[in-house]
Each structure stands twice: as C-alpha cells, then as structure tokens.
C-alpha cells in the first residue's frame, strides 16, 4: 500500500509551490508579509496536527512551544548577542527540549487529563515568562531583533520562511508515511491493541510530541524572522485554541488541512478587521458554523464529497 511514498498526485502541490515562489513579484509588500505569516501559522497548526490528528493526543497548549521557540531565538540574539543563525537553532531546540520535559510529565495520562495537565504546565511557563520582565521583557515582549541582511527584507524573510516551511512539511510528511507514523496512527485508533502488538505506546507518543514541539519552535523562530519580535501572548492559552481552530477549520484528518485553516483564519482576520471592529464575533460565528455543519473541517468536507463521488463512480466500496 505504501509503494509510492512519493505520492501519486504531487503535481498540483508542485504547482502551488511554484505559485508561492513567483507570487512575490506580483504582490505588494503587505501581501508578501501576510503570506509569510500564513506560512508561519500554518506550520504551527501543522505541527499541532501531527500529534492531534495523527497521534490522537489532546495537545491543548501547543502555543507554548511556538512561543518558546520565538523567545529562545529572540533572547539569544538580543540578550546573549549571538548570531541570528545560532539563535534560530537555540529557539527550535529549546522548544523541542521543553516538549520533551512537558511530554515526559504528561504522557502518563491520556486524553482529557493529558490536555488538562498540559494546560496547567503551559500556563505555568506563560506566567513565568510574563512576570520575568527583566529577562523576557514581560508584557512588552522583545522587539527590534536584528536579522542577517539576506533575510531582513520583506521578500527575503518570505522566501526564507517558505523554504524552511516547505522543508519542515516534507520532513513531516515522510515521518507520517514512515513506519513510525503508521504506528502512531495505530496508537491513536487503538492504544490497547498497539500495546498488545508490542509497540511502546508512551515512547511513541513522547517522540511524536518532541517532533511536534520542535516544528512549533521552528515556526516561532520564523515568526521572529518575519516580525523581528516576540510577545508573551504567543504563549497564552487563547493562541493554543486558535491553532486548534485552524486545524479544525481546515480539516484535521488531512495532511494539509491545517495549512488551509491557517490561511483562512489569517486572511479573514486581516480583511474582516478592516470592515468591522467585531472581528472576534465573526470568528466565533464561523467557528460555530464549522463545528456544527462541517465537523471534519473544510478540507475534510471536500474530501468526503470526493469519496462519495468516487464510491458512486466505482460502484461500491473503495
């Protein structure tokens, strides 16, 4: 079944990638910046989906890793004075490390209890970052983080973001398609059976969490590249829920769904807020509609429709 790891339908995706590569030549700077933000949010959402959709783990406070990645990079560059490239590495690894620590504490539990403990741990991290203003800048955050000239401009930061995001997504895809990924999904569907077959469930989940944390950290680093700042709100629980919504909106049962969800959310936020100050209301209403009518998200709904059509076309079970 996994004969063709390289996918059967890569050409539409390739087209999309080429599109993303050439678009900056046609768009104004603002939209390039917005696209970069979408990629960053999308990567964060995808990293969440790695453990949520594929792993079935209730990762309720994913934003912590995103925020720690950003702060790690920003602090290394501003407070410790190291070169930005080192900062990027530090940020991502710090997020992965935190994921390891938090995961090790939480992974003993399952489902809702895991989520609850994670929220409390995450909130603890947030509280510390928020109050330690002599080091982290407190509620002001860190800003004016200097970047290497190559990636300092709007276009430069966009391309860097695009390339890094693409690299991360490819890696994620291969992990998902690998035996590890299959085991993970098996654990999601039936952990008892997984244990019975000899898979170390907890270890698999922990590894998945570290991977997800690492990618979220990378996303945080990319945010610093695009915006030159880090803010404590990046660690707050409302952002975690927003990322969750992106996954849900786009479709958490598909690989690229969260990216689509991120695109929709960021686009909506930008455009709706120019028309009304009650953007949060619109966000809430849309979310409710999606939950009630499209529980598998936009992409999931589309997928289901396609599957329906295909079932009809091939006259029976696919």
């Amino acid at each position: 079944m996994n004969k063709n790891v390289y996918g059967k339908e890569s050409w539409p995706v390739l087209i999309l990638f080429i599109l993303l590569l050439i678009l900056p030549f046609f768009l104004t700077r603002f939209y390039i910046y917005l696209l970069a933000l979408i990629l960053v949010s999308g990567l964060t959402a995808m990293s969440l989906n790695f453990v949520l959709g594929y792993g079935g783990i209730y990762q309720f406070h994913h934003a912590v890793f995103y925020g720690v990645g950003a702060y790690g990079a920003a602090l290394t560059i501003t407070k410790l004075g190291y070169s930005p490239w080192i900062g990027f590495l530090v940020g991502s690894l710090l997020a992965a490390f935190l994921s390891l620590v938090m995961g090790a504490i939480c992974v003993r539990l399952s489902k809702l209890y895991f989520g609850m403990l994670q929220i409390s741990l995450g909130s603890l991290v947030w509280a510390i970052v928020y109050r330690w203003y002599s080091f982290t800048g407190g509620d002001d955050g860190i800003h004016g983080v200097s970047m290497p000239d190559l990636i300092n401009s709007t276009k430069g930061s966009y391309y860097f973001t695009l390339l890094v995001t693409a690299a991360c997504l490819i890696t994620m895809y291969f992990i998902v398609k690998s035996p590890f990924g299959s085991a993970l999904q098996g654990i999601r569907d039936n952990p008892v059976r997984g244990e019975a077959v000899g898979i170390n469930v907890k270890l698999h989940q922990l590894v998945a969490l570290v991977i997800a944390g690492f990618f979220a950290g990378v996303a945080g680093v990319l945010f610093v590249v695009v915006d030159n700042s880090a803010f404590p709100d990046m660690l707050f629980w409302t952002l975690s829920l927003e990322i969750l919504i992106m996954c849900l909106l786009g479709g958490w049962l598909t690989f690229l769904g969260p990216m689509l969800g991120a695109a929709i959310m960021v686009a909506l936020r930008t455009f709706a807020s120019t028309f009304t100050e009650y953007w949060t209301l619109i966000q809430g209403v849309i979310l409710m509609l999606v939950i009630i009518f499209l529980p598998e998200g936009v992409l999931g709904y589309v997928n289901a429709k396609i599957r329906q059509l295909r079932n009809v076309a091939s006259g029976g079970k696919a």
């Binding site: 063709n4 790891v5 390289y6 996918g7 059967k8 339908e9 890569s10 050409w11 539409p12 995706v13 087209i15 999309l16 599109l19 993303l20 678009l23 046609f26 768009l27 104004t28 700077r29 603002f30 939209y31 910046y33 917005l34 696209l35 959709g53 594929y54 079935g56 203003y133 509620d139 002001d140 955050g141 800003h143 709007t154 490819i170 895809y173 398609k177 999904q185 999601r188 569907d189 915006d227 030159n228 700042s229 803010f231 709100d233 049962l253 598909t254 690989f255 690229l256 695109a263 686009a267 807020s273 100050e277 598998e296 936009v298 992409l299 589309v302 997928n303 396609i306 059509l309 076309a313």
Partner: protein, 428 residues
C-alpha cells in the same frame, strides 16, 4: 477520532499515474483551487488606488479597560482634523484617518501598523497606549522611514534610549512624570516614604523616576520599604496593612490604567486615604476620577498634563466647549493628545509645502503650536512635546459629580524634562 487519515501529501518528486490517483488528483485540485482563490483574492485586493488625501493610520486599543483613555485621543484628533478639512484641508488635501484596534496586544498592534503602511500606504502613523506596541512600531517606523506619533504610551525609551528621527512623543513619559512629581514632593515636609505599585515596566519606571529625582532634590528622604503587586490586582488590603504597619509619612503609588481606580477604591475602603497621604501619577485626571463619582478618595496627590477646568484660559474654555458640544462629555487627557497631534500634522505639512515625509519631519521638529494649555513646542533634539505638568490634590466640589484637583501648581516643561544632553547620552 476513529477515521482513517488520508494524507493528501506534499512531496516534490515525479508522481506515478494510476487510475486511483486520477480521482485523488481531482481532490487535490479542490485544495489547489481553494488556495489559489485565496491567493488571487490577495492579488486582486492588493491593487489599491491612491487617494488624494493625507492618510493617517491610528493604531490603538479600542477593546478593554484602556478604552477609557483611547477614545478621547481619537475624538480630540477628529476635532482637530474636522476643523482643518472644513477649511479645505492642508495643501489642498483633506486629512483622512484609518483606525485599527490592537486590543492591547503588541503583536496585533505591530501587524496593524505593517498593514497600514504596506497596504494602505498611510503617510503618518499614530498611536498607541500600549508601550510594547509603541516600541515595536517605533522600530518598524524607523525601518520604513515613516513618522510615528506616540499618543499615550509612557515608556521613556521611546524618545530616550530608543529614540530616532522618525518617532515623536506627544504624551509625557515616566521619566518626566516622576521628575515633575519629585519637584513638588521635595517641597513637602514628608521624609519617610513607602514605594508601591503595579509590578511591570511602567510601575517600576515611574517609581524609580520619582525616587531618583526626589533623593537628588532632598537627600534626607528615606524609603522604609516597597510593595509590588501584579497588574490588575484588586485586593490591596494585605499590602495596605503592611504599609500602615510601617507608618510612613507618604506613599508613592506607581499604578497605571485600571490600577489607578482599583487602588483608590481600596484606599477609601480601608481608610488608608485618611491616614497616610499618597501620590499617583494621573490621580487627579478625569479618567481616574470620573468613574468613581463622589466616592473617590479626597486628599490624593497627583500629576496630570490636562485638566479641563484649569487653567481657566479662553483657549482651554473654548476647547472644552467645543468638545462638549461635539461629544457630549468633558474632555479627558487623551483629547488633548489627539487634538495636539492633529494640529501638529496640519501645521507641519503646511510648513513643509508638500506631502513629503522627510520635509515633514524637518518642519515638525521644533514647531510651536497653540493649544488649550498654552503654547507647546515639539523639542527638536528628542521629538518630545514640551507639556506643562499640573500637580494637585483631589477634592470634592459642589459643581461637579466627581472630584477635581485643588491647590494646583503648574510645573513648566523645561523644569522637569531631561535635557538634550541627557537624551544624547542615553541614545549612545
């Protein structure tokens, strides 16, 4: 979550064409179409047409407790620009403004600033009450070379160590406020002090500023102890108890925003205001006193840059009259900031002769304008507006349903602002 996942993958190598994959390819197409629509939507929307106006982009917090201050800024600004536009605008162009709500979050504020500059092509940026946002936007303004007027944030870094050519501060900052307070407090007989406040940058900055200057002016003063509570704290009783036990002569209370009212309420509830006098920056401002009505504590010392009833000059009276007629309420401090910004923008473009950002900056530096509190100069060396500071004590009066300041002393700007040399040293 028992459904099987269908990875609609994202790889970059040659695909293998099979019958099954045709159907899946169509499904992928939906996704591609979806994304393309979003992207092309961007492209279409990105074609904006330049209007023949001067555009000012205002980022501020229009959600939450800060709105008690920020709406006044906007209304004051509108009042100034409406007057200008009624005369046909400046340089033949009307002044148009766009507002964006940052919801007191610096990341949203920065994103809004970028949107205003990159998408809406504003000529001037204005805002905000959040110091974090102000500093972040200031960095951005420097990168983009666009003038940014800070209307309410009080961080002294804005025109101090992180000041630059493109940022201007209309409001006072913590360094200035502290020094002005110390100026007056040094004249009072208090010796034993207690320092307390909101445990964040603003609180500490104000307290440090007051204390450093006070100690300089009156070396005899001593601090018995300090209390710092979290921002937004509502239960001050334990802190107040500790303070009362130490028996200081006076308390410097460094609160901001909602902390102002909360602390005053607690001071009244615990009887502190009758036992030990204390000072808060903006304690005598309408924004702090009006919500409490006649329940506000009397005898609280405070500083403020604007009082609608003082000075009782014709300019101030006219300003208050016009504001009340337009907005049906008394102007608070924000109104002055917003109004002055509007006047500065108009007069500077007029002096510059064209809508050129660099010429604008050359014109606005050192500009002197008329205002409800007299003539104001935007100091050239640091781009700080030189406002007079009023120092007074809260008191009940029969003609208003809220307390006002009494025993008012006016401290001119040059007496409490850092000198140009000090600023230069900070910016090294």
């Amino acid at each position: 979550m028992v459904k099987r996942v269908r990875p609609t993958g994202f790889p970059f190598v040659v695909w293998v064409w099979t019958k099954k994959s045709l159907m899946e390819a169509i499904m992928k197409k939906e996704m591609i179409i979806g994304m393309s629509v979003v992207l092309f939507g961007f492209l279409a929307a990105s074609f904006s047409f330049g209007a023949d106006t001067i555009k000012v982009g205002i980022i501020d917090t229009y959600t939450g407790p800060a709105t008690a201050y920020t709406f006044d800024v906007l209304d004051g600004f509108k009042m100034a620009t409406n007057k200008v536009n009624a005369k046909g605008g400046v340089l033949g162009k009307k002044i148009e403004f766009l507002t964006r709500d940052e919801k007191f979050k610096p990341d949203i504020g920065l994103a809004m600033a970028k949107e205003l500059v990159l998408k809406d092509n504003v000529d001037i940026l204005m805002g905000t009450i959040n110091s974090g946002t102000a500093l972040a936007v200031s960095d951005f303004a420097k990168k983009e070379k666009i003038p940014f007027f800070v209307t309410f944030s009080k961080s002294d870094k804005i025109t101090g160590e992180q000041g630059h050519r493109y940022v201007f501060q209309i409001t006072e900052n913590t360094l200035m406020a502290g020094r002005a307070a110390a100026f007056e407090l040094a004249k009072k007989p208090f010796v034993k002090y207690w320092i307390a406040g909101d445990d964040y940058e603003y609180g500490h900055a104000i307290a440090d500023s007051v204390w450093t200057q006070l100690k300089k002016l009156k070396p005899r003063v001593q601090v018995l102890g300090q209390s710092w509570w979290k921002v937004g704290e509502t239960d001050f009783t334990p802190y107040i108890t500790a303070i009362l036990a130490a028996k200081p002569d006076f308390i410097i209370v460094a609160t901001g925003g909602s902390g102002m009212v909360n602390f005053q309420k607690a001071a009244k509830a615990t009887g502190l205001s009758q036992k030990v006098p204390f000072y808060q920056h903006t304690a005598i401002e309408l924004s702090t006193l009006e919500p409490q009505g006649l329940d506000a504590p009397e005898g609280v010392y405070g500083t403020a840059n604007y009082l609608f009833y003082y000075p009782d000059t014709s300019e101030n009276k006219a300003f208050v009259e016009e504001f009340r007629k337009t907005y049906n309420r008394y102007p608070k401090i924000g109104a002055l900031y917003g109004y002055v910004t509007g006047v500065l923008i108009e007069k500077s473009f007029a002096k510059a002769g064209k809508v050129d950002k660099e010429k604008f900056i050359d014109a606005v530096q050192g500009m002197v304008i008329d205002s409800p509190v007299g003539k104001l100069e935007l100091r050239a060396c640091d781009h700080q507006l030189m406002l007079p500071m009023f120092f007074g004590v809260t008191k009940k009066v029969p003609q208003y349903p809220f307390l006002i300041a009494s025993d008012i002393v006016t401290i001119p700007a040059k007496d409490y602002m850092p000198t140009c040399e000090e600023i230069k040293a900070l910016r090294k």
